[in-house]
Amino acid sequence: MSTPSSAPAPEPTDASWTAATRRFLERRLPLTHLLPSRQPFFVGSWVYVFGVVAITALVWVIGSGIVLAFFGPGWFHVSALGRFVNSIHFWGVQLFFFFVVLHLWGQFFMASWRDGRAKTWLVGVVIFVAGLVTGFTGYVSQQNLDAQWIAINAKDGINATGAGSFFNVLDFGQMYGIHVMLLPIFVTMLVVLHVVQVRMRGVVNPIEPKVPAGRSKPPTDVAS
């Protein structure tokens, strides 16, 4: 007859991939990290606003792009409302790149790849490059003389790289499909990943953090 033990029973080990994923997310991305209500004092700067402004511009670009895809060039090149939505799409892209580059400048000068954030930086680089390709395929998908001019001039440069065999800028169907389907999904997924990566590690500390009043030393780095 066994006697009851006062020691706590060991937790059952679950080797399934779902349990491993759950443990990883619980350890690396608790809700307090994903939706923080407080931030370090140095985040009180407009430099930290550039990224979310770029995301806001991306939301407008995707929203206006959905409308443009539904109604088509016979609408957005002709009617007043269509040209207005087309302009929102165009200027949204300009704002997106304007603030993405400002975000890049800010993160570059504060060396935001420090303390285990290299993957976050690299995903940002891929977002920037994918955004460039998305913009280019959009320019050649406009269905006007501007698009033809850009495609005719771009084909020689792209063919010279050897990429023309699978990336044919004169193939409207390919350019349009890439522009309205593949790259928007790709960029959106990467932006979500980028934000989650930032939330997992927190915002990088300044290189020379300011010492708050009443403190004798700057905040310690918080990354694992």
Partner: protein
């Protein structure tokens, strides 16, 4: 939109006026972001220990 842009040439540097305006605007906004006061500063936490692991 129907006329070609004006270009500025300084030695080997050639840039259109619209591109120059955008670049100058970006530098101006970046500098403004560095030095302009942030309105919510007083509501932000005083320590940097929000993400301990």
């Amino acid at each position: 939109m129907e006329t070609p842009a004006t270009y500025i040439q300084l030695g080997f540097i050639v840039i259109s006026v619209p591109n120059l305006i955008v670049i100058v605007g970006m530098v101006a906004v970046f500098l403004a972001a560095l030095f302009a006061p942030f309105p919510a500063h007083h509501e932000i936490d005083g320590d940097g220990d929000e993400h301990p692991e």
